[in-house]
């Protein structure tokens, strides 16, 4: 067994182990941090397969962006910082049946597929080549993805700003003391 095979198994154990922790952890913050190890392990796996750009993008987008947002969201939305956010197990029977069916299907696919291995081709995918392809052959998908992301950003800003209209002064129509009726005073 050569070094890259050892690395492959170590990273696999890291990914599967942390994914299991993520699913079974009762505390949602523990799940989020376990997810970090799963995503970073995937990045290591890409790096092992000579896909440096994909590995770095995985790290930047998922660990640096999405995971931080998940953590931020969980911490901000829970009532009270120190109340531990617990998850509980529901719908045990249907989910077991569903998982069993999916498991059987996956194993069936895995055993019946003819896996062909290819020798490693020389020459890493360079950033220059990737950029040129994106701006020539794949121009339309690239632009469409960009417009889609822009729409998502505008939508998010709109939703965030409509929750709290900025022009209304807060508590303008409410009396200072809720017990007193303002008409009685005047």
């Amino acid at each position: 067994m050569d070094l890259s095979a050892v690395a492959f198994y170590v990273f696999s154990i890291l990914i599967i182990g942390s994914a299991a922790v993520m699913v079974f952890a009762k505390n949602i913050i523990h799940s989020a941090f376990a997810l970090m190890f799963t995503l970073a392990g995937l990045a290591l796996m890409y790096a092992l397969l000579f896909a440096g750009f994909v590995a770095v993008t995985q790290l930047l987008v998922y660990v640096g962006g999405i995971l931080v947002l998940i953590l931020f969201g969980v911490m901000l939305t829970t009532r009270g910082y120190f109340e531990k956010v617990k998850t509980r197990t529901v719908n045990l029977l249907p989910s077991t049946i569903f998982v069993a069916i999916i498991g059987v299907l996956l194993i069936a696919v895995f055993t019946t597929t003819e896996w062909s291995t290819m020798p490693l081709e020389d020459g890493e995918v360079t950033m220059t080549g990737l950029g040129e392809l994106l701006l020539t052959d794949f121009m339309l998908p690239f632009q469409v993805a960009g417009v889609l992301l822009l729409l998502a950003i505008i939508g998010a800003v709109l939703m965030a700003s409509s929750a709290r209209p900025p022009h209304q002064p807060p508590q303008a129509e409410q009396p200072d003391h809720p017990d007193e009726d303002p008409k009685n005073i005047s």
Partner: protein
């Protein structure tokens, strides 16, 4: 460098080991020096002397004494803290910072890995730092720690945008992400006959790009005026409030390593990296390491200087500065640099 090591070391893992801990040695020696320097700079800016006693000459051994004190301190974990995450956070923080040094060309003879994605990798791996700070802040089970961690998350995610856009505007000029190749492009003294052909002299917009990069990198390194994650006066110490002893020391080391990292990236992108400012005079791999570290240290010194000059921003001012000034400016600057490249 690898051949040089193989000439006197037995081949195999030992060479790789020595090869990969060279940046660690640089960081450790630098941190000892930089913490002492920070105290001296602070002292002299405030018209006092700073440490003078320990070790004799200008208190040079002050940091060493602090280190010994920190190592023998008790490792305290708060009773209600999340033990596992609390203990793990400093290590992830330092690993993220140290991992980024792989792509830094310390001299023409030494770079950890000639990866194609270079500076993009540095941006990506340092994002682990904010995750580890959130981990530390949450696991401490302390109001101030958590507030510091939340500020870090917001600050790092926001200020990553101007950093990446200014780096992108340099990439437009160089056409490569590999920091070694970027440095090699800046060799020579072609500009105006005597100025080194560093990228900062490439066009007036590069100066703007550098200023934007430096401001944003101050925020990325959590330095004053952007040190809200650990502001002592309001949050006691932010995410590191509950840490003591060597675990706190690791956070301190990470912070200083991060300063050096961003300064070295700035030096490589804008100030010619390991190139000598005098053309072929004082050139070569060893002088290269000297110039690289000197340029980095100058930027680190400016960071210290700013720390004792400027007051801290408020949270809303921090966000305003980033989203209303730095990001639009950096995008406009990106377009201008691209136009300059097209015309000239």
């Amino acid at each position: 460098m690898q051949q040089f090591l193989e000439s006197f070391l037995p081949a195999g893992p030992l060479v790789v080991f020595v090869f990969s801990i060279i940046p660690l040695m640089i960081i450790l020696v630098y941190a000892l020096f930089a913490i002492w320097l920070e105290r001296k700079v602070a002292g002299h800016i405030q018209d006092r002397l700073g440490p003078m006693e320990t070790g004799g000459w200008h208190g040079w051994a002050q940091t060493l004494a602090d280190l010994v004190k920190m190592i023998q301190k008790e490792d305290i974990v708060p009773a209600k803290a999340d033990r596992f995450l609390f203990k793990m956070a400093p290590f992830i923080a330092f690993a993220a910072s140290y991992g980024a040094f792989v792509a830094i060309p310390f001299s023409s003879g030494y770079i950890g890995s000639m990866i194609d994605v270079g500076v993009f990798y540095i941006v990506a791996i340092t994002s682990l730092l904010s995750v580890s700070i959130i981990m530390a802040g949450w696991a401490s089970n302390n109001k101030w720690s958590l507030l510091g961690a939340m500020r870090t998350a917001a600050q790092t995610v926001s200020y990553e945008v101007p950093v990446v856009v200014t780096i992108l505007s340099v990439i437009i000029v160089t056409g490569t992400l590999n920091l070694m190749e970027i440095t090699e492009m800046q060799t020579g003294n072609a500009f105006l006959g005597f100025l080194p052909s560093w990228l900062i002299f490439h066009s007036p917009f590069m100066v703007i790009a550098f200023v934007l990069f430096f401001i944003a990198s101050l925020a990325e390194a959590h330095r004053v005026p952007f040190d809200l994650p650990e502001s002592e006066s309001e949050l006691v110490g932010g995410y590191q409030t509950e840490y003591s002893g060597m675990r706190w020391g690791l956070f301190m080391l990470t912070e200083y390593a991060d300063m050096l990292l961003l300064s070295l990236v700035g030096a490589t992108l804008f100030f010619g990296g390991w190139n000598s400012p005098f053309g072929s005079f004082m050139d070569g791999p060893v002088w290269g390491a000297f110039w690289m570290l000197l340029k980095g240290m100058v930027l680190v010194f400016v960071m210290m200087w700013l720390r004792w000059t400027l007051p801290r921003l408020r949270v809303d001012q921090l966000m305003n500065l980033c989203w209303k000034y730095l990001i639009p400016l950096s995008f406009v600057n990106l377009v201008l640099i691209a136009l300059w490249e097209m015309i000239f």
